[in-house]
Amino acid sequence: MKRSFAVLFSLIFVLTLILSACQPAPAEAPAEEPAVEEVMEEEAVAEEPAEEMAEEVTLVIGFTSSITGKQEVSSKRQVNGLTLWMDQVNEAGGFTLSDGTVVKFAAQTYDDESNTERVQELYTRLIAEDNADFLISPYSSGLTSAASIVAEQNGKIMITTGAADDDAYKTGNTSLFQLYTPGSLYMSSTVDMLKELDPDAKVAIVYEAVKFATGVAQGIVPYLEANGFEVVLEEGYDTDTADFGPIVNKIAGSGATVLLGGGHYPDGTALARALYERNIGLKFAYLLVAPADTKFPELGDAALGIAVSSQWELAATHTEAEAGNMGVEWFGPTGEEFASAYEAAYGDPPTYHVAGGYTAGLVLQKAIMDADSVDTDAVKAALNAMNLMTFFGGTQFDSSEEAHGLQTAHKMVVAQWQLNADGELERVIVAPADVATADPLYPIPTR
């Protein structure tokens, strides 16, 4: 028995050695400071050999994506946006700093399985083993909160996108920079719109009991009350809830005429379907995140009338003229250029998650260009000083100690699923009025 174990152990050992020997040599890992390789362009060499030698820097951008798990839908879109930006920069030959250094990017990414523990493990790996130069957040506030601790501990800049919760920026960090409108301001445009439409509305707030949705839902209550609305129900539900029947019955029992709530994609779709099936006579239903996705109309009639706050919509994309009027610097492609490039690459129209992913890269690129350096401290200083407009909207970060990195310039719109002239579901912008493409559907139709 012992002999066979010894033979087995020896075989495994030998096999391991053989496999190790066969493994291809690891790609040269980027050092602490970005790897620099010299590229000599033949034509230039012929003319001015000494001065035309360009240094090329390939910066490693580390991030995790939820290829599996509950955040998959939105996370994949975010990563698609980031990838599109990176491909465009690299295909254009990178960009050049004043010292002649050509900057390009390479992605290092892993599947975080929508799992907080895995995020911390993977961001540690991205920093310690993969030597990522800059980090982009995972999707969702919960995962970003976990990743941000690792980024901050290691002094790595992390541009956060798909993460609206305010709390992570109020812990004294110096390395996080938020692109999204903070969660506490998520529903304010919707409340402003409701005040115009129906100041006597009774509001039920029903939300997924996770960091982001809880922050958004609880954060809007004082604003609702300040605007004279009565909040008749305030309740969280478990992430894994599938049967929303009892919750919808509770909303009906509360006498609410308006629902504000939701959380992420899976629960949002289930809640929308339960609302439709029970037909409880709500005049308006607003859900977080899920209705912003292009998959949402798969719900059929249950999608009609459901509203969502959106970080970006092509129909209300920000423009260079807008930046000029505000006296703010413009950077990057127009919304139309971005959207057509995305459709060409991925075959469907971009959502705000895609736009957020793309802009995360764009903002990092601009910060490096402003810093004229790839040094972390210099880029951090450039981000702190940034006041920018892209197609995604305003980008400016709170530089105070109390809320460092919190987004202060970006504004949201309210979108709603309505039927177009052909009777097909279409997401239109209903607020604010200056960018609205349609009137709000209020009250939403009943069956």
Binding site: G69, K250, T269, A270
Partner: protein
Amino acid sequence: MQQISLLLTSLPDGILLGFVYGVAAMGLTLIWGVMDVINLSHGPIIALGMFGTFFLFIRSGINPYLGLIPIAIVGLLLGVVIYFVAVHRVINAPHLSSLLATFSVNMIIIGIGTAVVTTSPYNVDFNMGSFQLGSTTVLGTRLIAALIAILVTGGLYLFLFRTRPGKYIRAVTNNRSAAELMGIPSTRILALSFGLGTMLAAVSGALISTFFPFSILAGGSYELKSFVIGVLGGLGNPIGALFGGLILGVLEGAIPAFLETSWVPVIEFGLFVVILLVRPNGLFGAKQ
């Protein structure tokens, strides 16, 4: 007073859902009862049943209730295959071996499922209307699912108590060695039992998909509910599982009337632990 009104509104919903939970748990408890195997591939098979309905209805236009027939047949065959591939060789080994074997099947199904359909949520946009019963809205899909669940339970009862293979299953459950001495082909009967268990899981998944969105990971929560129902209804007692399902459904309908919805799993699994401590064989326990 408002709570009582809410309770009366939510209770019928819970009861109807409880019947379907019962069918899901019946599969788990049948396998446990016959062969002492805790089938950890139960959840993914429920999810496969959901996707069966999705593909048959959305892609092929087959009515979800007609689609139950091919889903049940494929579920039965899949169960037999899983039995021979992963369970048969460890059937007499300690429980940990069969637990790990079925867990491996669980991981394989989820892995393949993730590769094929991703973990995105899917929705079967199917509606059977609704009607008012007092203050309650009764959904057609849930009512029909409950009726089918009762039919399935009745069918299982008749099969187990009125047919020869059913009697063989009960004989193998009671004493496998004695059954073999009586000439009962125990291996085939065990495979059939495993197949029936997975068939019930797939059918319950197909029914659930007509009222909730789902993903390849969705079966996990129904598997956990099945454990609670198994204990409520009595471990190894498939018919008792229907009553266990009803109790769970009633709890899920009643608790939100008095507490926040997020308390539902706390109370469900608290009850699970209490019953295991007080009556380890379950409320209607048949197995010693």
